[in-house]
């Protein structure tokens, strides 16, 4: 069950600044650039880095330098994503954007990048941290976060969902399908697969 033979799962590579880029912005989900996110020999100083402190006491940064080596810290992921949208709206051609973190974070960043007009040659992502999944219920469209089991109860409609390997880049989520649709009540044991 762990390999469902589905090919839509994204593949990731450690991040290195693309040589052709004019400026490199790296956004990460945590307070530090996580170990393993960058390719061997690549220093965080090659990027302008945005981090998330996950706390309210973020030091103020009156004038932000938009240069390699600069670090800007946000209170939360939504705080960072909102600022990213504004930043990309006024950016010029030549920018490269990288994201490191869990899969939902990385693909939320991708969605913002794509909406701003960045293509695959201008972005790079590394999946680090938990393997837990965001699940999109194909029946009620509710999203259930942080799923580590093969079967999960939908946060929207309460259905027992089978967690498929089918990944949607648009929704930044895996697909969840009712597991007992044919024989109601026949729900297999959930296995811990995505820790």
């Amino acid at each position: 069950m762990s390999d469902q033979g589905i090919k839509s799962r994204p593949k990731y590579q450690p991040i290195a600044p693309e040589p052709a880029g004019r400026h490199h912005l790296l956004v990460v989900e945590g307070a530090e650039v996580p170990g393993g996110a960058l390719a061997e020999g690549v220093s965080p100083a090659a990027f302008e880095v945005w981090t998330v402190a996950h706390r309210s006491a973020v030091p103020g940064a009156p004038v932000m330098e938009e240069a390699a080596g600069a670090v800007r810290t946000f209170r939360s992921v939504p705080h960072l994503l909102g600022a990213l949208q504004e930043r990309l709206a006024r950016e010029r051609m030549g920018l490269r954007l990288y994201g490191a973190g869990t899969e939902p974070f990385v693909w939320d960043v991708f969605g913002i990048a794509q909406a701003a007009g960045l293509g695959r040659q201008e972005t790079g992502f590394a999946h680090v941290g938990t393997q837990a999944r965001r699940i999109f219920c194909v029946h009620c469209r509710a999203v259930t976060e942080n799923v580590s089991t093969s079967i999960v109860t939908c946060s929207g409609c309460g259905a027992s969902l089978f967690v498929r390997d089918h990944f949607s880049r648009r929704l930044a989520a895996f697909m969840g399908v009712q597991v007992d649709a044919e024989v109601p009540g026949e729900v297999p044991e959930a296995e811990e697969l995505y820790a």
């Binding site: 052709a20 051609m93 920018l95 007009g117």
Partner: protein, 318 residues
Amino acid sequence: MSPAATCDVRVREIEPLAPGLKRFSFEPAHGGLFSTPPAGGHVMLTLRDGARVMKNAYSLVSPPAERARYDIIVRLVAQSRGGSAFLHHKVARGDVLEMAPPLSLFPVAATAKKHLLIGGGIGITPLLSHLPELKARGARYELHQLSVADEAAVFERLLAPFAAGAEIRVHGGGRAAFDMAGLLARQPLGTHLYVCGPRALMDAVSGTALALGWPKGKIHKESFGDTSGGLPFKAVLKRSGIEVEVGATQSLLEAMEAAGVAAPCLCRGGACGECRTPVIEGEVEHRDDFLSAEEKAAGTAIMTCVSRARGPRLVIDL
């Protein structure tokens, strides 16, 4: 792919735009409507000048929604291999020519946030079919046309229908007065760049854009290659077992076609890669935009529509 089937078209109108610049308008010779052409598309005309047969590609300049006619603009080239001189001097209203249906190697990018178009001289032609399409889509665009001073007014006139509320500029001073780097540096994310014109302009624009960090995938070039001819040589088609003399004003592809060989081809401008042919012996003078620098250095393939032999003899696997 074998050469596309041609249809007969009649010259419905010839309009002189400037000295050496004429617009030809064609209609289907047997009535009806043409197919809807792709934006940035070109057609291939078969021009029969006595015993000589030339097949030349021309960008459509009529709006893609226009199906009653296809328009092209042809510049009379001083060093013409014959195509532009034939069209300018020998083709008259009412004449019937063979035309292969349009295809586009220079389409409009659907996901672009903005379209930046740069034309040089007659390189304006494919851009003229982009503009109505971009306007119809409500897309954001900006166009810069480089021109010699004498022709600036002609280009102003061709662009006038699209000028209202749009960023369109004709630079009559050519490249000298054109701030290319400034223009490319201030483009918003998601901009796609389209450039058509002389080789030197296209190289300068794409080189500047790449240096500013533009990704290759957002730089689109339309080239009809270098078709200025060169020294005659002999081509040996090993598999077919025939030898073809390539004249000074002929391309290898044209010489093979004249010998009755159905050689693969599509764009006839060194852009699409369709006519790539393995080289067995002899040195190649590469003039295409398709092969990478490494492939050109290796010299194991030739684009027959534009490239030539460097020496007197070339053996190819065809």
